[in-house]
Structures are given as structure tokens and as C-alpha cells.
């Protein structure tokens, strides 16, 4: 079992690969890994309640960059209830802990 952080900075409108990346996050979590999906820049658009495309969040931690949310005028109450606004600290902490960190 590995600790994995996947950073997605694009929206599904930016690239058709974003949906595949979300699927990968879900698959890695179902395979037993501890997976965090960190949404940043346009990636936070997927964190809205009204958005579709995120995988099942059952085994996944999903964070959204608070700065990116403010830039895009997305309020915390507009987020999917299981997604938390976050600073960048979790990314740096994951790197410092030697986790597998990948930025799509």
C-alpha cells in the first residue's frame, strides 16, 4: 500500500484526460492505496456540487486549493460536501514524507 497524491490543475473542459486522471485516482484508491486528489487552479471547478466527473469519493481524500476557489468565486458552501478547502500544506507535507506526488 502506497501513499499517493495526485494534483490536477485542469478542468474537464481543458483536457479530455482529466476524466481519465480522476478515474485513475479512484482505481488506485480501490486497489488499497491511500490516495489524495488535490484540485488546484481550474481543477477546483470539479469540486462544485453541480459538477460531474469526480470518481466515487468513498476511499479517496479530495482537497481543493482555497486560493484557487477564491480566484474563481467558489464559496465553501458550493463545494461537494466531502471536499475540503485546503492550503498548499498537504502537498508540501506529502513531498516531505516521501509520498508519491504527481502533478498531471
Amino acid at each position: 500500500m502506497s501513499d499517493i497524491m495526485l494534483i490536477e490543475s485542469r478542468s474537464m473542459l481543458d483536457s479530455p484526460h482529466v476524466r481519465e486522471n480522476f478515474q485513475l485516482a479512484g482505481d488506485l484508491a480501490r486497489a488499497g492505496n491511500r490516495v489524495t486528489l488535490f484540485l488546484i487552479e481550474n481543477g477546483v471547478l470539479a469540486a462544485r456540487q453541480s459538477a460531474a466527473g469526480l470518481p466515487s469519493l468513498a476511499n479517496l481524500t479530495v482537497l481543493a486549493d482555497a486560493f484557487s476557489l477564491r480566484e474563481r468565486a467558489i464559496r465553501p458552501d458550493e463545494l461537494n460536501s466531502t471536499i475540503k478547502p485546503s492550503s498548499l500544506d498537504p502537498i508540501v507535507d506529502a513531498m516531505a514524507a516521501g509520498h508519491k506526488v504527481t502533478w498531471f
Binding site: 490543475s9 483536457s15 488546484i40 487552479e41 498548499l88 502537498i91 508540501v92 513531498m95 516531505a96
Partner: protein, 137 residues
């Protein structure tokens, strides 16, 4: 918290991508948390530290140079280098030499230096983690 060394790899030219600002935010966060940082800048990112960047006015909005206060990446990098120094941390910023030569951006912010992919290769073995900020596909 144990001090670690984290490596960041950047390739986007100034003003081209939000990834540049995000990566610089991550570097700032890493320094705030007391980690040492390596930065390997290649391709267009070697221009981030170019000292001949200059501000300009914004005639459309009626702002002269001082009021417009156009952001310059070289100032952000100098700020990060100063922060690292004040905290007793290492921020080692390397610009890929061949990429510098191709673009003619030899004049770089003090505290940065010229290097090669061999430096990045060495860093990957010495760092807790290496994060690549790739060009947006």
C-alpha cells in the same frame, strides 16, 4: 518536523501559465515549513530569473509605470531567495545552461546559477520528493 530537501522542476516561460505561480507558492510554502528547496528551471522557465525584465505602463487603463506596478517574476524569485537566507535554509535555483543560451537570458537574479540536467539527476537522489510542473498539455 524534520527538515527535508524538496526539488521542484519548472518549464513554463514567464506569464504563460498559472502553473508558474502555483509552483512558486509551493516553494514559498516549503520554505515556511522549514524545508530546503532545489529548483531546476529549464526551457522557458529559465527566463523567470532574467534580470532585464522591466515594468511598463498601462495606457488603456490610464496607469503610469509606478501605479501599474507590473509584477515581475525576477522579484518573486529574489524574494524567495531572501526568505530562504533569512531562515537559514537552502534555496538552490539552477537554470539549465543550454536553455539559457538558446534564449539569450544569461543575466539572472543573484543567488541563481547555471547548471545542467545532471544536477537535476543528482537532486532526485538526494531529495525526499521531486515534483515536476509540466507544460499544460
Amino acid at each position: 518536523m524534520t527538515t527535508q530537501t524538496l526539488t521542484f522542476v519548472m518549464m513554463d516561460a514567464p506569464y504563460e501559465s498559472a502553473r508558474t505561480a502555483t509552483t512558486l507558492r509551493l516553494i514559498d510554502c516549503a520554505l515556511d515549513k522549514g524545508h530546503n528547496v532545489n529548483v531546476f528551471a529549464y526551457e522557458g522557465a529559465v527566463a523567470l530569473a532574467f534580470t532585464r525584465q522591466d515594468k511598463h505602463a498601462n495606457k488603456v487603463h490610464g496607469r503610469e509605470v509606478a501605479e501599474e506596478d507590473h509584477p515581475l517574476p525576477k522579484e518573486w524569485i529574489a524574494g524567495l531567495i531572501a526568505k530562504a537566507k533569512s531562515k537559514g535554509l537552502k534555496l538552490d535555483w539552477i537554470n539549465c545552461g543550454l536553455c539559457v543560451d538558446e534564449r539569450g537570458v544569461q543575466e539572472a537574479v543573484e543567488g541563481t546559477r547555471r547548471g545542467s540536467p545532471a544536477d537535476l539527476w543528482a537532486w532526485t537522489g538526494q531529495s525526499a520528493c521531486t515534483l515536476v510542473s509540466g507544460t499544460k498539455a
